[in-house]
């Protein structure tokens, strides 16, 4: 496991991600509000757009690099960069150093990668937040993205946060560690296989009897919630930041 700073930082950068920006801004606003409520000054660099992952994973590395280079100077201060997505955090933390190996900006990129934290990781490990649940009792299933689980290795962090919530019954699902079938352009390029995967994932979530699905990655959520709506399955899907904000902070 990585070494976490022993002192709570006074200030962080927030990197919203392109998906949160356009589809799920509530997740971003919630995450920022939680951080602020925990006494952190949050800097949101307005020049941010996308971490570059979509083009990179499609093989268009030059196009990806063009976007990545436009993001590299958005975080000049030596403070954490918090990202509400294991996928985008994983790109910055592990793909950037890989792509910039031997490049003039290698050390700059490596230093940036070191400062990148996924949101639940930052809340649980760096801030060590103590959450007080003000919400109604609810049955919740959790989806941990593959990048949170395997790339960032923060699968336990979201669970740790949800377990602090007295009103939340966290339900186990079959094959929780299996991919939901999103995979970015995979969902389009290989739609039939992707559909078979998300179908199984939604079956497993539904079988838990959950009322709500909580996840730390909006890509998976778009896929899972999109398929649930398609099948008329009524499980509310929410980013974990929004879920925690609404239950623990919004009412006071």
């Amino acid at each position: 496991m990585r070494n976490y700073p022993s002192q709570k930082p006074a200030e962080v950068y927030f990197y919203g991600t392109c998906l949160v920006d356009l589809i799920y801004p509530e997740a971003g606003v919630s995450a920022i509000r939680i951080l602020e409520r925990e006494g952190i000054d949050v800097v949101f660099p307005q020049g941010q757009s996308c971490c570059g992952q979509p083009a990179m994973n499609s093989g268009y590395v030059n196009e990806s690099l063009a976007v990545i280079e436009s993001q590299l100077d958005l975080f000049p201060k030596d403070i954490p960069v918090v990202i509400p997505s294991g996928s985008c955090a994983g790109t910055m933390r592990f793909d950037y150093p890989r792509l910039f190996k031997g490049h003039a900006r290698e050390s700059h990129v490596n230093a940036l990668a070191e400062r990148v934290y996924e949101f639940t990781e930052f809340l649980n490990r760096v801030l060590c937040v103590r959450l007080e649940d003000l919400g109604r009792p609810t049955r919740v299933a959790q989806h941990v993205s593959c990048s949170s689980r395997r790339t960032m290795q923060v699968a336990e962090e979201g669970t740790g946060l949800l377990n602090q919530l007295a009103g939340v019954t966290l339900l186990e699902q079959a094959r929780a560690a299996e991919c939901c079938g999103f995979g970015g352009t995979f969902a389009i390029k290989h739609d039939e296989v992707s559909s078979a995967m998300v179908q199984d994932k939604v079956d497993a979530i539904s079988a838990t009897g959950a009322e709500q699905l909580v996840t730390g990655d909006c890509g998976c959520m778009m896929n899972i919630a999109g398929h649930m709506r398609h099948r008329g399955i009524d499980i509310e899907c929410m980013h974990i930041a929004e879920f925690i904000w609404k239950r623990c902070y919004a009412k006071d």
Binding site: S49, E63, V193, M222, G226
Partner: protein, 471 residues
């Protein structure tokens, strides 16, 4: 090599229509994942072993040319004849010539994926030489007229009842789905074939350079029978299978069997070092080793793609792949399926023919997590995606670049690298979200469209900040 027919999507479409495929693979893969997990209760031990095994394989690949020369020298000293083949056609030709020299009419085969890669059975039979598989799974695939769907368990796409029916049909024996009875049935048939065969062909799991030892891992004893009963033994191997020292074998073997089938050790482990010597009671009179390249040198030449060659063919990546679990092995179109197949096949066949394989992956990372030699499979798949559109290192690199897709990414880059254009784009999309159709291509075949927000996060935060400043 067999030709690849159709695209991954066309092939997987067929497999996805078959509910038996889904359930057979799901059940089998669930079982294999459980078995592997039970073999590694100690995370620290697993991590130490994987580091060691990765280092052994990396070391062997770093010294590959020298080790191959050493292997050849040692084998020759041991009395094993060594042949080199650049292509599968050459390898087939070499095997045929050996067979013809010995006036062979029939060949019995132990399990070998390289011989599958060579499409050897078909080639030999076209030249009038019977080639019979003696691994039970391979045998069943052969009598069914199919190809293996897994590198370790060739017939895993069939359940017990399907296999029982196949045996009843092909052997003309009464239907039984009792596993022991079925095994005895096949055993009785194969026994005679072992005794009659003129040549035995096997694969190689590890070839030890310092001693010229060929190691063969198996469970049924058919490998031992194929390599000891017939008067001639031909071993076929990919050039990457060499390791430097004998002491490198035990850790690799331990990880191989535990990762593959969840066995602590297989029933048989053969170490073949020479033909029968004067005074010895058994063993073939002559042994040939055929070393096959088939694009492996090309993989070796690229520092990153070289990691493909670390593979010890345990199949753990396949067993843990959520895509493979849905579509099965035949959807991959060639001999090696699953994540490792995507790496190997796309590089062997080139990007024009097999460049769609690296994209057939969500990059979930389950494969890399279990790989006993720590091949960074997702990273290599990303690299191969790059090779397919703008690369230089792989056969037919760049062949899958499509004008429209390239323009989409160019435009994407222009919009996302400029804060002004990006904000203009998000402003427009949020204002014109009512124009976004409810159905959008393949996404909405099984999903609804996500709703674009009325204001982007950028805007929401600007508004919030302005409000705070007023207070």
């Amino acid at each position: 090599m067999q030709k690849i027919k159709n695209s991954f999507n066309e092939r997987s479409h067929i497999e996805l229509q078959n509910p038996l495929i889904r359930s057979n693979f799901r059940r089998a893969m669930d079982g294999l994942m459980e078995k592997r997990k039970a073999q590694f209760p100690d995370e620290a031990e697993l991590s130490r072993l994987r580091d060691l095994a990765a280092a052994i394989r990396q070391n062997a690949l770093a010294k590959l040319p020298e080790l191959l020369e050493q292997l050849e020298t040692r084998c020759r000293q041991n009395g094993i004849q060594v042949h080199w083949a650049q292509t599968t056609d050459e390898a087939c030709e070499i095997v045929l010539q050996i067979a013809q020299k010995h006036d062979a009419r029939s060949v019995i085969k132990g399990k070998s994926m390289v011989s599958e890669e060579m499409d050897l059975n078909r080639f030999m039979e076209a030249h009038g030489i019977e080639c019979l598989e003696s691994d039970l799974g391979e045998y069943l695939v052969q009598i069914a007229g199919e190809t293996p769907s897994h590198i370790i368990m060739p017939v895993i796409h069939k359940n017990r009842e399907q296999i029982a029916q196949l045996m009843a049909d092909k052997h003309g024996t009464p239907y039984t789905d009792d596993v022991n009875a079925m095994t005895q049935n096949a055993r009785a048939l194969l026994r005679d074939k072992f005794m009659q065969a003129d040549i035995g062909i096997s694969g190689v799991n590890f070839a030890v350079a310092e001693s010229g030892t060929l190691c063969l891992v198996e469970n049924e004893g058919n490998g031992r029978m194929s390599t000891t009963t017939p008067p001639v033994h031909i071993a076929v191997m990919g050039i990457e299978k060499v390791v430097e020292r004998l002491e490198h074998v035990p850790p690799l073997l331990s990880l191989l069997t535990r990762s593959a089938t969840g066995q602590h050790i297989t029933t048989y482990f053969n170490m073949i070092t020479s033909p029968r010597k004067p005074g010895e009671k058994d063993g073939p009179g002559s042994i040939h080793l055929v070393l096959l390249d088939n694009e492996r040198t090309s993989m070796y030449s690229d520092a990153e793609l070289r990691d493909t060659l670390r593979c010890i063919r345990c199949g753990a990546c396949i067993n843990h792949c959520p895509v493979y679990t849905r579509v099965g092995g035949h959807a991959y179109g060639a001999v090696y399926p699953g994540p490792i197949g995507k790496l190997v096949t796309s590089q062997m066949y080139g990007m024009e023919v097999a460049g769609d394989l690296p994209t057939a992956c969500t990059l979930c990372g389950a494969c890399g997590e279990v790989c006993p030699v720590k091949i960074p499979i997702p990273d290599l798949l990303k690299r191969l995606r790059q090779e397919s559109v703008e690369g230089h290192a792989v056969k037919q690199a760049g062949a899958r670049k499509k004008l429209i897709e390239a323009m989409v990414w160019k435009t994407w880059a222009i919009l996302h690298r400029s804060p002004v254009l990006y904000r203009l784009m998000t402003w427009s999309v949020t204002r014109m979200r009512w124009m976004i159709p409810a159905k959008m291509g393949k996404w909405t075949i099984s999903r609804q469209m996500p709703a674009v927000a009325s204001r982007s996060l950028h805007e929401r935060l600007e508004v919030l900040h302005n409000e705070e400043n007023k207070v």
